[in-house]
Symmetry: C2
Subunit: 339 residues, 2 copies
DNA sequence: GTGAAAGCGCTAACAC
DNA sequence: GTGTTAGCGCTTTCAC
């Protein structure tokens, strides 16, 4: 259907192998035949079939990425970071959504593997049923886990300091005088969410403040989950004076719940979110967040993957990136208090 | 390296061809050998190599998508819509960013084509140099253009009623008493942006209001461009009383410029944006926007692509989706005025 | 229904 | 430096 190397070889008057060498840039070809082949290729509009090349060479120059939801700005940035990082080496990203569902994730991994991706980057929704990931890794393809830590696994991971970041945010709230702080968690089965809850607890412990279990509410992956959870917190008889939301969509939901009740931020309820988001510094009031180096997560995963593809056989890497507390105005911190 | 059909065939005690038929679900296989093959495959953990299959069958079950910027929520939703639509038929999305640059776009198209995608969906940054797209289409692979109309081309397109939508938004502003309305355009070379400007003009014309050319400012693809452009408008000696922003990132930028100047919306400056965005209805004040059916754009493109892949040889389709004016509070419209 | 054999477009030995 | 010859893992005739 399309032109093949053989067509170009014929047009250039050389053998198929020589044409392949000239086109592929490997082996040795005389300047003369090189030119002839390249000219013929250009003239006829030849397009290389990477598939055929991959079938024999064993590399598709394609990396698979599985995210929970591409519409989540966090993942969008991860995609961007990964794409930018691997693109410079000629790789392209095959994308799949899991909708935070382990079964769909396994399907996605399968779909990507069957397309022979060189490696896989996945923000897994799994906690224990890692079989689809271990078998993928066992097949010899590097698998890099992002965002959600996997302490006892042999996978390379790129994560952020969830516990430390969360603890810092909650400590900030406590420092501002809050002692009843509600937390809207993500799905607690997701390790990053669990770690953020750990940070919440640690900050309380270190400040010598007890935790009212009723102030810990389980959200979920979507904005609506966050809205519901934050709403439940705000509707308590003795509501918290501050909210800590465990993900950007949870923050969206909390914002929505707060607005729906006509509450003023930070006077009536303070708010800190984990993960920065577009407009966070533009809306009124600007929202204080624990900012994650989102692009960098994707970039580091891409770089690590590239290293693995380059033959790095070292022990599992656990890259942990730092978060930054971006103090804006949603907690009532005065300019002077911003360290 | 990985298991092949031949391995399974051997394990099942049948020929490679029979195993392939059982595994591929084509041709005719007896119930007995079928079972044997499938069992062996499951037991050994066989994974089909789609590449090899694609090489002979001619379909990779992969569609290419080129967007300007995956971090733009508009494109993120398009990706989601497309992925969901094609996934049900077993296709996967190969994603590439163009950064709104025609050269990078051409590279992206090349990268996707060489990976033998079955079809291409692209939000092209091109206006006249369509060669990379026409040659792609000429190669027999369906190419669907989204978001940006291409009136004189032979491509299938999925767009929205840009002019109508923009005109409606501006008419809304005029109806509220505004006569000095600034517009922050996207790159005017992009057809959708040009159409939105046309809508802006038409609304003025139909209302019998003259346009001050100084009120038309060119933005760009990013938030920063919008901020700069909106800022220029606001800093005019005789600034507009209302702003119409031509894209969501332009709206972000305008919001930022407005906040930086401490202006109140809508009292000191009204605002309508083209394209809805997360939090638009949650921030204060909620922002009036021309909402596009974003998921549907991707979905329709996916469905159309699937139809083309299914053999539909009909004339170029031009699907134009409707926008909706979401009246919120950023223009000062009273509840009563909301039709 | 099943097997043998050819071939998709390419890379990679291996001779010359 | 260049051509010949094998495959990569699969689908697809074509006999049987």
């Amino acid at each position: 259907m399309s032109l093949t190397i053989t067509d170009i070889a014929a047009a250039a008057g050389v053998s198929q192998a020589t044409a392949a060498r000239a086109l592929g840039g490997y082996g040795s070809v005389s300047e003369k035949s090189r030119e002839q082949v390249l000219t013929a290729a250009r003239r006829l509009g030849y397009h290389r079939n990477e598939l055929a090349a991959a079938l024999v060479a064993g590399s598709t120059h394609t990396v698979g990425l599985v995210v929970g939801d591409i519409e989540n700005p966090f993942f969008a940035s991860v995609v961007r970071g990964l794409a930018d990082a691997v693109e410079v080496e000629g790789h392209t990203v095959l994308l799949a959504n899991s909708d935070e569902d382990v079964v769909r994730e396994a399907h996605a991994v399968d779909a990507l593997r069957s397309r022979q991706v060189d490696g896989l980057v996945v923000a897994t929704a799994a906690t224990d049923e890692l079989e689809h990931l271990t078998t993928a890794a066992a097949s010899g393809r590097p698998v890099i886990l992002i965002d959600r830590p996997m302490p006892d696994s042999a996978f390379d991971t790129v994560t952020v300091g969830n516990e430390r970041g969360a603890a810092g945010a909650v400590a900030h709230l406590i420092g501002l005088g809050h002692s009843r702080i509600g937390i809207v968690t993500d799905d607690p089965a997701i390790a990053s969410s669990a770690e953020r809850l750990l940070g919440y607890r640690r900050a309380h412990r270190e400040a010598g403040i007890g935790i009212d279990p009723g102030l810990i509410v389980e959200g979920g992956p979507g904005q609506e989950d966050g809205r519901r959870a934050a709403g439940a917190l705000l509707d308590l008889d003795d509501p918290p004076t501050a909210l800590f939301t465990s993900s950007n969509l949870a923050t969206y939901g909390a914002l929505s719940a707060i607005r729906a009740r006509g509450l003023r931020i930070p006077e009536q309820v303070a708010l800190v979110g984990f993960d920065d988001f577009p407009l966070a510094d533009v809306i009124l009031p600007p929202i204080t967040v624990v900012s994650q180096p989102v692009d960098e997560i994707g970039r580091e995963a891409g770089l690590l993957l590239l290293r693995r593809l380059g033959g790095d056989e070292g022990p599992p890497q656990r890259i942990e990136l730092e978060t930054t507390l971006m103090i804006r105005s949603s907690c009532g911190a005065k300019e002077a208090e911003r360290a």
